[in-house]
């Protein structure tokens, strides 16, 4: 089975070439609709509780824009490299897929590293999940997102490893496509996190 070159036997858009693939893609989009409500509920809770600092540090005092900007840049770029991986999928080039996904994973790890550093720093400053309603809401929302990033990284690595043995087929193609969709989605969520949590936090004051 040719795994390192464009596979001429594979149909175009291999991820949708089977009913199973189509079902998986639709199912995954529906799941993302549900995730929208999930994250949205966390956002709504955060917005309601963002000023309840219980005497502790506020967002304005804690957040450092350069760190957030760097993390955003890493994640955004990783989403772009995931797009390139899907491009490689449509060119049926497994080697290229692997290269782009590796970069995606590395950028994602960088993002996570910054976030872990950030949280550790905040805890030292007295901002914990148990310090206040703001603390609970912050760590739950941003932490859940971070958890999603971590899960995505593990998932992509798993797919990469298993593809070295199985190659690019109509069975493995949908898996790559879905992982890519997932990765884009968590970047979309991050767009709202940096806007609502960090940027609005720096501005301070009540909303609405």
């Amino acid at each position: 089975m040719a795994t390192h070159h464009a596979n001429a036997v594979l149909p175009d858009e291999p991820e949708k070439a089977t009913l199973e693939g189509k079902n998986k893609i639709l199912g995954f989009w529906l799941f993302l609709g549900g995730e929208t409500v999930l994250f949205g509920s966390l956002f709504a809770t955060f917005i309601a509780l963002r000023d309840q600092v219980n005497g502790g540090p506020t967002g304005q005092e804690l957040f450092e824009l350069p760190l957030v900007a760097s993390a955003t840049l890493l994640l955004l770029t990783s989403s772009m490299t995931a797009v390139m991986a899907t491009q490689a999928l449509h060119k049926k080039n497994l080697k290229q897929i692997q290269v782009w996904l590796t970069i995606t994973v590395l950028l994602g790890l960088g993002f996570l590293g910054l976030e872990i550093y950030e949280f550790t720093h905040y805890v030292h400053e007295g901002h914990k999940i148990s310090s206040s309603a703001f603390g609970s809401a912050f760590y739950t929302l941003v932490g859940f997102h971070g958890g999603h990033v971590a899960f995505g990284i593990l998932w992509i690595i798993l797919l990469q490893v298993s593809a070295t043995k199985k190659g690019l087929t109509v069975v493995t193609a949908p898996k790559f496509y879905l992982a890519s969709l997932y990765w884009h989605f968590i970047d979309v969520v991050w767009v709202f996190i940096f806007t609502v949590v960090y940027l609005m936090g720096m501005i301070g004051g009540k909303v609405g």
Partner: protein, 614 residues
């Protein structure tokens, strides 16, 4: 290709049931488990009503009473009726759309086992220090550590696990209905039960994440020192109420829409008439689904949201009565001029109509905010929701069970026992809940473990409890019917009711692969059209050939056990156990992803009814 030329793996007995991914078997699993939990919830109800039979009784103490009402509500909604709904959806929807299974059979099995283990975990609380006792709505601050016992942790964890199963089940049915309909079956040619299942699945998808978030936040407050609902640290309990009801209101439509679907099927079949106003029924179902998300704060009129909020939500709530009314009239008009017969299924379905209407009517009364201030937290509310959930949903489920029992089990439920089952339950139901309207209007609060005598509450409570005995007898008669039917050797025909939709065109019970050849659908009431054209069966849409089936798997069971173990870890703050449980679950997920399922083939010559259908 050659990898999956193998024949069906021969599995039997318990192992077959633990590893099945066949929607028909999963339906039966849901029915049995849901039925067992229904008995548990029913027993809890019996104890509640025994305690309330007389003023100042001491059948159970106050704390136990709180546990009983909490578990009765939680068990009945999440662990009894919803699984029976999933039983019917699993048994019927793939057949009605001409499919061989659901889109994701493995996930289907996982949905069941997650529900099962979540339900078991929650109910072990009875033996492990006390059941949750903060009501099925579990409002903080009562539900926080300070004011309630360990039991609420069982609620939080059990429901998260069970809820995950429901959520993925919803996605499964959405994809199945969207992608796997037989050729010729456009959306507007789907039977009403399938349409109801479709909209219900959409509601599940968008409602369950909200309660998942709520439960996570409550878990964080109880286990990790979070402050979401702790006013001392800036938390806000209204947030819980919003999140719970943003889920909770769509949830009640998740409960009733499938029942509406059953009624449409049963009433039309036993009136020998097509459903009146099909398009408006579809539209009404979709509109109810849409409006379901816009009315949740009618459960919160008295929390102080203010006049504007109350007005908006009150008006939206009253609006839902319109599409519901359309449905009621359409059922009546379906029956009008039809040749109506009353097998037990139709007794249940026809009695649904006025009973649910009463419940809906009291719902509109409750929707008026100023009136709600009087009804809130009284037995009037209890009467309302039991009329719609029991008199509506449970009646509908019984109708569906009597109707589709032959298709699921190959036998017809006994009609004589059925009629006794119906009448005792029906009379018992009204005796129980009709007086409760007046108890509420006379000022009896809900969730109270006793009441003083000579406040005009004695007679109503007494009659209400007598009614429960009727429902108990009715339920027992149903179980007797099931047992008698199981022992009987009379087999049911493929089409015992002269049905209209595709499920009646295949044997009872269907072979493993459902349809030997995927049928060609030529219009609404697909099977009826063929019958009216003089055909014996459906025209096939594909040639006879090998049928590819998914392999059974033990992983869904194991994955659920993993989360079950992790749940206990959280319950006892033992994070080693949590990690072990999660590792089991994730290892199974990895195994599933890495090891492809080749399935197996049913060869052309093994297909039983070849030759009957051209």
């Amino acid at each position: 290709m050659s990898a999956h030329a193998s024949h069906a793996p021969k599995r039997s007995g318990l192992w077959d049931w633990l590893t099945t991914v066949d929607h028909k078997k999963i339906a039966i699993l849901y029915l049995i488990a849901g039925g067992l939990f229904f008995l548990v919830g029913g027993f809890e109800a019996l104890l509640i009503r025994l305690q309330l039979m007389y003023p100042e009784a001491s059948v159970v103490g106050a704390k136990t009473f709180n546990e009983l009402i909490t578990m009765h509500g939680t068990t009945m909604i999440f662990l009894a009726v919803m699984p029976v709904i999933f039983a019917l959806m699993n048994a019927v929807v793939p057949l009605q759309i001409g499919a061989r299974d659901v889109a994701f059979p493995f996930v289907n099995a996982l949905s069941f086992w997650l529900f099962f283990f979540g339900g078991v975990l929650m109910n072990t609380s009875w033996f492990l220090g006390g059941a949750p006792d903060a009501g099925w709505t579990s409002y903080p601050t009562l539900a926080l550590n300070q004011y309630s016992g360990h039991g609420v942790d069982f609620y939080v964890l059990g429901l998260q696990i069970a809820g995950l199963g429901t959520l993925i089940g919803g996605i499964n049915f959405l994809v199945t209905i969207i992608n796997m309909r037989a050729p010729g079956m456009t959306f507007m040619r789907m039977p009403m039960f399938t349409w109801s299942s479709f909209v219900t699945s959409g509601l599940i998808l968008f409602a369950f994440p909200a309660i998942t978030v709520g439960l996570v936040l409550l878990m964080f407050d109880r286990l990790f020192g979070g402050n979401f609902f702790n006013p001392d640290a800036g938390g806000n309990v209204v947030i819980w109420e919003h999140l719970f009801w943003i889920f909770g209101h769509p949830e009640v439509y998740i409960l009733i829409l499938p029942a509406f679907g059953v009624i449409s099927e049963v009433v039309s079949t036993f009136s020998k008439k097509r459903l009146f106003g099909y398009s408006s029924m579809v539209f009404a179902t979709a509109l109810i689904g849409f409006l379901a998300f816009m009315v949740w704060a009618h459960h919160m009129f008295t929390t102080g949201l203010g006049a504007i909020a109350n007005t908006l939500f009150g008006l939206a709530t009253m609006l839902i009565a319109v599409p519901t009314g359309i449905k009621i009239f359409n059922w009546l008009l379906t029956m009008w001029g039809g040749q109506i017969t009353f097998p037990t299924a139709n007794l249940w379905a026809v009695s649904f109509i006025p009973t649910f209407t009463i419940g809906g009517m009291t719902g509109v009364m409750l929707a008026i905010p100023p009136a709600n201030y009087q009804y809130h937290d009284s037995y009037f509310v209890v009467a309302h929701f039991h009329y719609v959930i029991v008199g509506g949903l449970v009646f509908g489920l019984f109708a569906g069970l009597y109707y589709w029992w032959p298709k699921m089990f190959g036998k017809m439920l006994n009609e004589t026992l059925g009629k006794w089952n119906f009448w005792t339950f029906f009379i018992g139901f009204h005796l129980t809940f009709f007086p409760q309207h007046f108890l509420g209007l006379m000022g009896m609060p809900r969730r109270v473990f006793t009441y003083l005598k000579d406040q005009n509450l004695d007679v109503g409570n007494f009659i209400s409890t007598i009614g429960v005995f009727g429902m108990t007898i009715g339920t027992i008669l149903f179980l007797v019917n099931v047992a008698v039917t199981a022992k009987s050797s009379k087999r049911a025909p493929a089409d015992p009711w002269d049905g209209r939709s595709l499920e009646w065109s295949i044997p009872s019970p269907p072979p493993e692969y459902n349809f030997a050849q995927t049928p060609l659908v030529r219009g609404l009431d697909a099977f009826w059209i063929e019958k009216m054209a003089g055909n014996k069966g459906m025209t096939p849409a594909e040639p006879l050939g090998d049928i590819h089936m998914p392999s059974p798997s033990f992983l869904p069971f194991l994955m659920s056990v993993g989360l079950f173990i992790a749940g206990y870890g959280f319950l006892y703050h033992n994070y080693v156990v949590v990690v072990i449980g999660l590792i089991v679950t994730f290892a199974c997920m990895i195994a599933r992803s890495v090891k492809d399922d080749p399935g197996y083939h049913i060869h052309e010559d093994e297909i039983e009814d070849k030759g009957v259908k051209a």
